[in-house]
Amino acid sequence: MAFVPPTILEIIDIANISQYLASRDVAFDGIFNWGSLDKDLPLKIYDVREAVEWIYAQDPNYSSLFQVATYLYQLCGKYSGIAKGIAAQNSGQVTYNTNTGQILNGLMPVQYQFTVGDVAAPLNGTNLSFVINDTRIVAGSFDLHLDGLETPESQTTQVSYQELYTTTTITVTFNQAPQVGQIIRYQYLKGLSINNGKQTQIPIRYTCVGGETTVTFTDLIGVPKDDILTLVRGTNVIQAVLGTNTDMNALEYDNGAAGVFTVPTGDIFQAGEIIQVLYLA
């Protein structure tokens, strides 16, 4: 089953929250005069969201509405993932993992990308499958793009794949090996944790001066990896992983011992690069 895109009403919710998140980032950016963000982004999101909301109220089936709403979703950019998590948590809905019946505290999308043949990539140009390890994976939510094109499932006449789910893994198997240099981008949904009374905290962030190999968030002391909802480096949502890490799309995390993230070897933080963490505590 392919990734289910958000509905127009969900996009409107996501845009409302993204507008706030972008506005807060712009204010923060302005205080320190870094000027690295589009200061008009909150206004752009507001402007388009107003148009989408208005036409939706007039005619929810209006011909171009889905296209314009999709543009709004794209405009929310890196904020959409965080906003989706917040919207799901505050919705009051009970969400079940269709795979296990487990009650989840909302859903969030996870996106990931690698180039076949790269040192840390799970595919080397000859092998046919790779395994994604995560927690609370929602069965049926996986979707994959190869070189920017949506790749079909279970086809014999072209490159296709099949996926096998458990709650902690997705095993993706191709019918023919993707070639070295091809870019694989995939996404899936994971449930936010059953929080045991924990609440989503205001995202914390650090802007690198350049040259650091670690970043420490003392707020994360005592916060285990599973309570990290999203980790953003620059404009990419990446993974927090335990133990030695060589994956350029992940940061090693000390599982809350001191709240330290460590870069893979050779991938030092650049000046102005922003690390942002949304977490439960």
Partner: protein, 172 residues
Amino acid sequence: MALSENFTASVDFATQNLLHLQDVSTGSDSAVTSRRVYLTKSDGTYLVPQGTLTDYIVWSYSVSFIDINVLDRDYALNITVEWLNSANVALYTKVYVYDFTTYSNFFHYYLTQTQASQPNIINNNNFWYNKLKLLVNIKDADNAIAYGSDIGNAQAALDKAYYLMTNQNLFS
């Protein structure tokens, strides 16, 4: 039982030129035999359908709604409905102020649709700043009515939006 007079006004998206009035009165009064509608603009003149020689529009009392073909653009209006007896004396009167922004809002959506298909157009300052002006004027009109019942300032804002709509070269 006496009549508790009331009405609502709305515009349907698909028929932007038609002002729809719905009688939502409760109770009854056998003396009432007809209704009249006055649509007063911010300059004090009356808005009536083409060919109408009176300041008012007759609203048949046997039909609970009326669609009036008067909205050739967006207006802020003072809407007065009178419930009349057989001698055309007003027994009941209800007055509301409304702003109708369907044309402006649809033009704003049209611009957004253009933006969605040509995302780089937002880098054109004429497009971006004038689009924002349009949205601000729509909000100004809504706020003037919602917080001040002020059709003068509402119409002024709608006039600015109308100017942007009728001068689309300002967006290129």
